[in-house]
Structures are given as C-alpha cells and as structure tokens.
C-alpha cells in the first residue's frame, strides 16, 4: 500500500513539471500533504498517541488545508493564473525530471546497500522531491511559484524524516512546525508587498541591488 502512495507522490511531482497553471500547483501541494497524512496513518505501529495527533495536525491540518488555502486566497486576490514562460521549456524540464527520478532510484539503491536502517523507497522519492523542487525554483520565474516550491521542498524533507525511524523530541517537532508556518506566513506578507510595490511579481523585477 505505501509503495503505491510513494509512487503517487512521485507522480505529483512529475505533474508539477508539466503544468503551468498556478492553481494546479496549489492543488498538487494539498494532495501531497494528504498523501503524507495517509503514509503516517499506515505507518502507525506503536508510536505514542500524542505524536500521532501532532503529526496528523501537521500533515492533514497544516500541510493539506491551512497552507494551500492560504496560498490559494493570495493567488485569487492577486489574480495570478499562469507561470510565465520558464527559463527552460516544459519539454526539457520533463526530461530533466526523468533524470532526477533515475538519480533518486540510484540513491535509494545505494542507501539500501549501506548498512543503515532506512526505507529505501521513501529515501529515493524524498531525494527526488527535494532535488526537483530545487530545480523548479531555479527554472521558474514567478515568486509565488517559488513559495509553492519551497513548500514542496519541505514536503520532501518531511518524507525524508519518515524514512528514518529515529524519534525526534516533541518540543523540537513543534519548533520545526512553528518555523515552517511562520516562514510561509512571512513569505506571503512579503509577496503581497512585492505585488503592491512592483507591477509584476516575477524575479526579473528584483534586480535593483547589485554591484
């Protein structure tokens, strides 16, 4: 079951590479959050209840509902519809996505061979998520896409932490979540400011400061 979900989460990333409507990105983000929630539910063995409740709030509450909803309102308010022509065309990005996937599977294979206890598929897919969101950040121009890809990067990191069974203390978990939440909130504030100050909201307008 969890293999299917992992493949699904990988596919969402491919989908992101192929589309250019911003709302589709947000929906994919919500879907990823929901898959992460399912993965946690499946994974339950004997972890304590406090942890499960916290993780459910994190994935289902924050990652699936609050943040996507929040971003969606911003997008609707600012009437952003499409990603502008990216630096690298859709076709070549897909090609690069395939290369990233191959790399991810090699990484998973390699990780399984070193004698540490991890779940190789989780590891590989999370590497794919991390690298491809970094790639998308570099190749796309809209600032809102950058925020969305940052969230996908965070999802990838979350998945990576699922591949380890080590427990991180509760207090730390709460801190991490708080940082993430405040981070997105701040991003949104500054994004709104940028759209107010500049006519357009892609990174080409941010070139005033240089040497």
């Amino acid at each position: 079951m969890d293999e299917i979900l992992m493949i699904l989460i990988g596919t969402t990333m491919l989908y992101v590479f192929a589309v250019s409507r911003i709302e589709a990105y947000v929906k994919t983000l919500a879907l990823q959050g929901f898959i992460l929630f399912l993965l946690i539910i499946i994974d339950i063995k004997e972890i304590n209840w406090l942890n499960i409740v916290f993780l459910s709030i994190e994935t289902l509450g924050i990652k699936t509902i609050v943040i996507p909803y929040f971003l969606l309102t911003i997008i609707r308010k600012n009437e952003i519809r499409r990603e502008v022509e990216p630096f690298i065309s859709q076709f070549y990005s897909l090609l690069i996505a395939v290369i990233i996937f191959i790399f991810g599977f090699i990484a998973a294979y390699w990780a399984a061979k070193t004698n540490v206890e991890i779940k190789p598929l989780y590891f590989g897919i999370s590497i794919v998520l991390i690298i491809s969101s970094l790639f998308l950040i570099i190749s796309r121009k809209k600032i809102i896409t950058h925020i969305l890809c940052y969230m996908m990067l965070e999802n990838g990191i979350f998945l990576l932490s699922l591949s380890v069974a080590n427990e991180i203390p509760m207090l730390v978990n709460i801190g991490v979540l708080l940082d993430l939440f405040v981070g997105i909130y701040l991003f949104a504030i500054f994004f709104n400011k940028i759209t107010e100050e500049y006519d357009d909201s892609h990174i080409d307008v941010l070139t005033e400061l240089k040497d």
Partner: protein, 465 residues
C-alpha cells in the same frame, strides 16, 4: 530568559524594556564569567538549554554588541522621528530576534539549534524591512528566501545524520560527542556537507553569499550592526558544534578541506568586489564576508587555528558593530550611501571621522587591535600545519581588502567638505558612546589579553585538538 522582556510593549516602556534586556544580558554574561550561578530555567527546558564554554563566549560577544546597539538605537529613534507605535514594534522585533539568537547559543540539541537558527532568519527579516523602502523589500525577500532554502538543506543534513547515527538515537550534542565514533562515517560526511551548505548560507560564505551585501546595506544601521556582529556568529557557532562531532569521529580532514576551500573563496570574492565598491555599507558587508572567510580558514587549521578564529570572532564582531554604527551616523549626516557623496568627514564631524578611521584600522588588523593577533596566529597555524605556501595568497587577499577599505575610508574622511550640504549635525551622546566603548574594549584586550579569556579559549581549542 530573553522572553521576559517581550511582555512589555507599552509605548512608554519601549526604552525601559530595551535597556533592561540589554542590561540583563550583560549582567548574565559577566556573572557567568565569574562563575556565579543564577536562578535557572525549569528542568524540562534546561535539558535543551545549557551554558557551556563556547556558548558563554558567544553570549558575551552578543551581549556587548547588543549593548552598543541599544545605546545607538536611542539616537536612531530620535533622529528618524519614529512614532511611538513604530518604536514599540522595533523594540518588540529586536527582542524577538535577540531571544532567538539566545536560543541558538544555549541549544544543546542539534535540531533545536536548527529551529532557532531558522527563527533568527524570520525575526531579522522583519527588522531588515523596518524602513519599508522598495530596495529594502528586495533585500529582505532575497534574504529570507535564500536563507530559508539554505536552512532547509541544513535540516536535510540533520536527518541524514540521524540516519547515520541510528544506534545512538539522539541528537543531543553530548550524546553525539560521546559516541561520535559509532556514527557511520559515510553518512556523517554526507550530512556534514548539507549542514555546511545550509549554515554556510546563513553565514554568507562565498558561493552562497548573494543575500548578504543586500541585507546588510538595506537594514537600518543598528540592525546591520546586529546582523553582522551577532547573527553571523550564530550560524558559525552551529558549524563549530557540528565540526566537534567530525573531529571526534576523526573525519576532520574532510571538513577542514571544505572550510579551507570556502574560506579562500570568500577572500577572493570579497577582495574582488571591495576594490571598486561604491556604497560604503556594502563595503562593510563585503568585509564581513572576508572576515567569515578568515574564520573558516582558522577553523580548518586545528586547535591553534580554532584559538585564532575565536579571537577573531570577538574582534570582528566588536569592530564591525562599531563600523556599522558609525556608518549610520555618516548616513545621517550626508543622507547618502555612496562613497563619492561623502568627503571631509573629519572637518564635518571630527569624532565620527576618527571613529570611522580607527574602527577601519581595527578591522584590517593594525597592531594594537586583537584582529592583528588573530591573523598572526592563523599565519602561525598555517606554518605549524605545514601549509606554509598558503600564507602568500592569504596575505595577498588581506592586503587587497585592506587597500580597498582604506582607500574608501580615507577618501571619505579627508578632503574638503562636500559643498552646499551644510546642515545641523546632531551631536548626540548616544551616537558616539557605543563605538568609543567598543574600541576601548578592543584596545584593552589587544594590549593586555585577560587571563580568564585565555583560559576559556584554551578549553575551547582543546576540543579541536
């Protein structure tokens, strides 16, 4: 602890709360130096927050920098004529920022340290955008976005470390240090690379320094001083703690290599840019990059280098705070950040001019100041480690930066007063006092190195034998 100050945000209490928290920090720091135990945190928190030697050292630096920034802020309030509400928001943001930096210093858990490093990014972003200019917005966006990505990568590193240290099953530094040899070396190296890139972004080390000059030049001057004098040290502290694990696992050759390469890259970048710089606050920012490069080089040279790097951290923070605060005064007099618009500073406002020159001499390492001592020790460490040929490029870049800074600073200080710009100068006591005090502290330490400091430096350096 720092959180106590946050409760006060009433208009009238602004100054009192800022003063009391800065006084509190200095008192705590000095009490710790004399081994006084203070009433401490509740048990469940003190697991995560503890003072140790390195923490105390960095805490002291932060307390000094913040003390200076507090005094200068009084001048800043008066000069910019902020309404009380804005003043309150400034104080509130600054105290949040301070609290998160304290968290970084005291954290005993690797992931907790991460949480607070990320928190410093978020809190300082609001301060950088405090003056709400368009260019400040651009700088803030770059800062907060680049650093968040960097810090996210550092978290990947932390997860990789916890994969590699499966049998330890804890990320407390004490456990990691005690059982460093049990960590899988391959995964430790991998995780170090990620943590290095992540925290390196926050430090502003060479290939990933792009945000630093923007943020430091666009922030209000007291905030720039705090960013350069205290915040950069926080991420550096994180790297020192992680480096400790690698040293104990006998993998330091790997990390030293990374430190050395990126240190020299920073020197190259800063010396290239500083030669034809046009904005004096950006010049100071590039000088920060250079000094972080020197710290990295020091780190890579074993315990003697570590010793030197520690002295350098101290000296850099204090001199850079003094420089940034003085630059705020210059900005206030001339209303321009361009080097070309400023001349005859010594005639216009002699004290500012002399502070500007003396702080510059301090940061480029003229003999009575401790920067000279630290650079000298780094050269010695090169010699001891058998890389003596690297001394030549090290000196060369040092010289270029010193030349670039010296040229700009002397151009600004001497010469005729720029005509037609005679306005009334606010000779407020608050605008000079902090720089004078910081420079006097530097001089005292440079001339007569206090034995307590040698003790603590020895203990720190011993960790990196």
């Amino acid at each position: 602890m720092g959180l106590a100050g946050l409760l006060v945000k009433n208009k009238v209490f602004n100054r009192i709360s800022l003063f009391s928290s800065s006084a509190l920090y200095i008192i705590i720091a000095s009490a710790r130096w004399f081994h006084l135990e203070l009433p401490w945190l509740p048990d469940w928190l003190s697991v995560f927050f503890q003072f140790d030697d390195i923490g105390l050292y960095f805490f002291t630096i932060m307390a000094m920098v913040f003390g200076g920034v507090y005094v200068y802020s009084l001048f800043y309030f008066k000069e910019s004529g902020l309404p009380a509400v804005r003043e309150a928001s400034y104080v509130l943001k600054m105290l949040f920022f301070l609290a998160s930096m304290t968290g970084v210093i005291l954290a005993t858990h690797l992931a907790m340290l991460w949480v607070f490093v990320e928190a410093t990014t978020l809190t300082s972003a609001l301060l950088i955008y405090f003056e709400k200019r368009k260019s400040a917005l651009e700088a803030t966006w770059k800062y907060v976005y680049i650093c968040s990505i960097g810090i996210a990568l550092a978290f990947v590193g932390i997860i990789l470390l916890s994969i590699g240290s499966k049998n330890i099953n804890s990320l407390f530094f004490a456990d990691l240090y005690n059982r460093a040899s049990e960590i899988n070396p391959l995964w430790l190296k991998l995780s170090f690379a990620f943590i290095f890139v992540g925290l390196g972004t926050k430090i502003g080390i060479a290939p990933i320094h792009a945000w630093l000059p923007d943020a430091h030049s666009e922030a209000p001057s007291p905030v720039s001083a705090l960013l350069s004098g205290a915040l950069l040290n926080m991420a550096f502290l994180g790297l020192i703690r992680v480096q400790g694990i690698l040293v104990l696992a006998h993998l330091e050759s790997f990390s030293n290599f990374l430190f050395m390469i990126s240190g020299f890259l920073s020197l190259i970048v800063s010396s290239v840019f500083i030669l034809h710089i046009k904005n004096y606050k950006r010049m100071l920012a590039y000088s920060s990059i250079e000094n972080m490069g020197i710290l990295f080089i020091g780190m890579s040279l074993g315990s003697l280098g570590m010793y030197a790097a520690m002295i350098h951290t101290f000296a850099h923070s204090l001199s850079k705070t003094s420089l940034f605060l003085t630059s705020g005064k210059i900005l206030d007099i001339y209303k321009s950040k361009k080097i070309d618009d400023v001349s005859g500073l010594l005639k216009r406002d002699p004290l500012t001019g002399w502070l500007w020159i003396i702080s510059m001499l301090s940061i480029i390492g003229m003999p009575p100041f401790p920067v000279f001592l630290s650079k000298f020790l780094i050269v010695k460490a090169f010699w001891v480690n058998g890389n003596s040929w690297l001394i030549i490029p090290f000196f060369l870049f040092m010289l270029i930066v010193a030349f670039g800074m010296g040229k700009a600073v002397f151009k600004m200080s001497f010469g005729d007063d720029a005509a037609g710009k005679s306005g009334k100068i606010n000779r407020s006591f608050y605008a000079y006092a902090p720089q004078v005090v910081l420079i006097v502290i530097l001089l005292i330490i440079g001339i007569n190195f206090p034995p307590q400091m040698i003790d603590i430096l020895n203990r720190i350096a011993e960790l990196f034998h």
